[in-house]
Amino acid sequence: MEKEVVCIAGLFLIVILISSPLMTAETLASFKDSLFDISIAIPENYKKIEAGTELLASIKLVNLGSAGRIDVFLDYEVMDFNHNTILEKKETVAVETQANFVRTFAIPPNSPPGEYVLHARMIYADGKEAAAKHSFEVIKKANEADLRKYYLFAAIVITLAAIIFLGMKSRYFIEKIRLRLKIHSIVKERMAASNKMNTKS
């Protein structure tokens, strides 16, 4: 009894789909003739990213077959080099002749550094598929402790440079004072001696 109900419902659904104004003979033909190509491009500054940040990719879909608006299903997967999936995303996109769009993928913060691949699989018409992939690298995130070490090192270098600079400046300054004092005493002594001689004579 249940089987009969399912069969009737199935037939009914096929009838509805064929008689539907959306599913015309033309649409069916375009499905049959369609041939898609997919490509992925990752901009240069996103080829090396830190875990926890977003990967940006440009997706291009081209309908090489017949004209007409067609909905295609897209499956995205981000995999590490051991083929472990770390991220999945799905969507449906309507394409007439060509579609270009940008998608972002939030890379999990706990992703270990290494090579990763973004796979995109497109399913259209009666199960036809097209796929593309592009690799990128997850690099080690500069953690706070590292940053603190870096700032501390920079502060030490700057302080040392300042001490050396001030030391050199003060040495020059001290040398000048010494020279001034020496000249003062030379002139004073010579003048005193000269005055003494003048008084005697």
Partner: protein
Amino acid sequence: MTSLLIITSVESLQKKINEIVKSFGNTIGIYVSLNKNHKSVEALLKKEKINTRNIFFIDCITSEKERDDVIIVQPSQLDKLAYAIKSFINEVKGKKFLVIDALSTFLIYNDENKVAAFIKQTIEYASQNNVEVVAFSPKTKGEELLNKIFNFFDKVRKE
């Protein structure tokens, strides 16, 4: 007060220096020696019966300190030399003169433009403080430098 540059042959350089220093009589002077050390200069001046008690020496030839009343400055230390000259000008009261005995010697140790800047600065300071400046240079040396510094002096004498 005037500044004078005397360009003369190497042979007659000392003779000219003696004449000029002698002409200042008992006026107090600052002598920057770049040609001979202060001992030799003093001996030569004394020989000409010039009273060296009134002359303060800045020796740019001697490397080791021999006397307490002589300032020793390396010819490469133009800043220090300028400061020493300024200090003497400030310390010595009354009328005074400044003699620099062989400007071209500076060129052995310094860049031409630095020497020109030093001379300009020294002449300006001396003139502001009523100090008469006489600088000497041997004829054959430092033509380029001489061309650069001609204008800083009130008078130039080629002998």
